[in-house]
Subunit: 236 residues, 2 copies
Amino acid sequence: MSASRTARERVRAELTREITDIARRQLATEGAAGLSLRAIAREMGMVSSAIHRYFPTKDALLTALIIDGYNAVGAAAERADAARDRADFGGRWLAICRAVRDWALAHPHEYALLYGSPVPGYAAPPDTVAAAIRDTVVLGRLATEAHEAGALDPPDDHPAAEAFAADADRLREFIPNVPDATIARAVTAWTALYGWISFELFGQFNNVILDRGPAFDQHVHNLAHYQGLPDPRPGE
Amino acid sequence: MSASRTARERVRAELTREITDIARRQLATEGAAGLSLRAIAREMGMVSSAIHRYFPTKDALLTALIIDGYNAVGAAAERADAARDRADFGGRWLAICRAVRDWALAHPHEYALLYGSPVPGYAAPPDTVAAAIRDTVVLGRLATEAHEAGALDPPDDHPAAEAFAADADRLREFIPNVPDATIARAVTAWTALYGWISFELFGQFNNVILDRGPAFDQHVHNLAHYQGLPDPRPGE
DNA sequence: TGTACATCAGTGAACGCGCGTTCACTGATGTAC
DNA sequence: TGTACATCAGTGAACGCGCGTTCACTGATGTAC
């Protein structure tokens, strides 16, 4: 019967979820290298080999965590973007950046898993890609919409180098309908956003930048101005 | 006798060096988590406990590697800077950025050790700090000198937020004699530089940005324009 | 509605591995007189 | 220059730990007729 069938499946889904939850908690205290299937089994009151019924291998569990993580940042970025007026391009940029940073601060080890040093010996399978680009898609769409609305007015209108044209074409998948220079600026802002967050989380700001929230806002405003985004509407 | 005394000491220094060399090579293949004192001893033909005569603990070895790493990037940045005409501020910026990236590409796992996810359970002792800031000092000095020479002409002259003032004061240790807005721009460029390199090394550019050298130059030029640095002199 | 069979979850033991660190020791190298 | 002593490097055995994965198994849950 399909009702009872889903009963078993529901338990399975629940336990699978419990495993990833515990794994995430382990990640938070031990880091990716300290992730241990045996420890998870122990915490669940299971024998260690039972985990393999749910994740055939440790890498499979890692992959699930990575996909979940990318989806979580992506969803946070999407929500932040959606909460702003479509035409408030500066406000959307600010909101997205803050959402990504807030998520990272709340889940530092998951962030490290996604954007930090690769886990040695682990190769991300191709099915992580769709999740991995969600946040980037949000940023790209913002740039395109701002450009199409004529709201992008960069103070520096240097054209992009010809050598960048091929990559610009590839990037146009995410940022359609804009000139190369706009793409170049977006990439610079994109790497700068994550560069900041990584520095903040990985300890490079220790004893140097202490008032992190305001400093981050300053950084994000800098990047907004650089891209030619308008100031956020009042009520930000 | 001091001559024979140095004989023993010379051997000791040599073996210490050999240990860190092997450790660096291990780092390159296994990553920081795979660093193993026993494996190092094995490769040296020593019994595993002998390593502890040179590094009392694994963390001590890690610390040595980290300090060496920071010094290596720092020295590369210093050399690149020194090779340019003092007044060629744009050229110096480009050269420093390229030197840091080149070093990172040549030593990806060491870069990850310095700028990637922190090694879980390891806390960097304070004696790493002096080495850690060498590259930053080079960048800060460039900004100050460019400003003092009147060569900084940023297209966007938005002032920095007041909330950034306290951190700007702290940062003035590295970038003296410049207004807050210049410091803010320098910090944005600084994080953007390393953000790019981390993205490139940690796999975020896979299938997206392929022609990395030109794209990086574009990024660095963007950041130069943003900061108001002049174009590099011909013969770059 | 009841029975025969198939699927699946979890067990427990085992394999084979590697790790950092301690400790008492031997023997060589360096030092002081 | 030679001897007595102190320092130091390296040995080998051991402690105690944790890990991922395989495998034959039991017993419960679900399915088909």
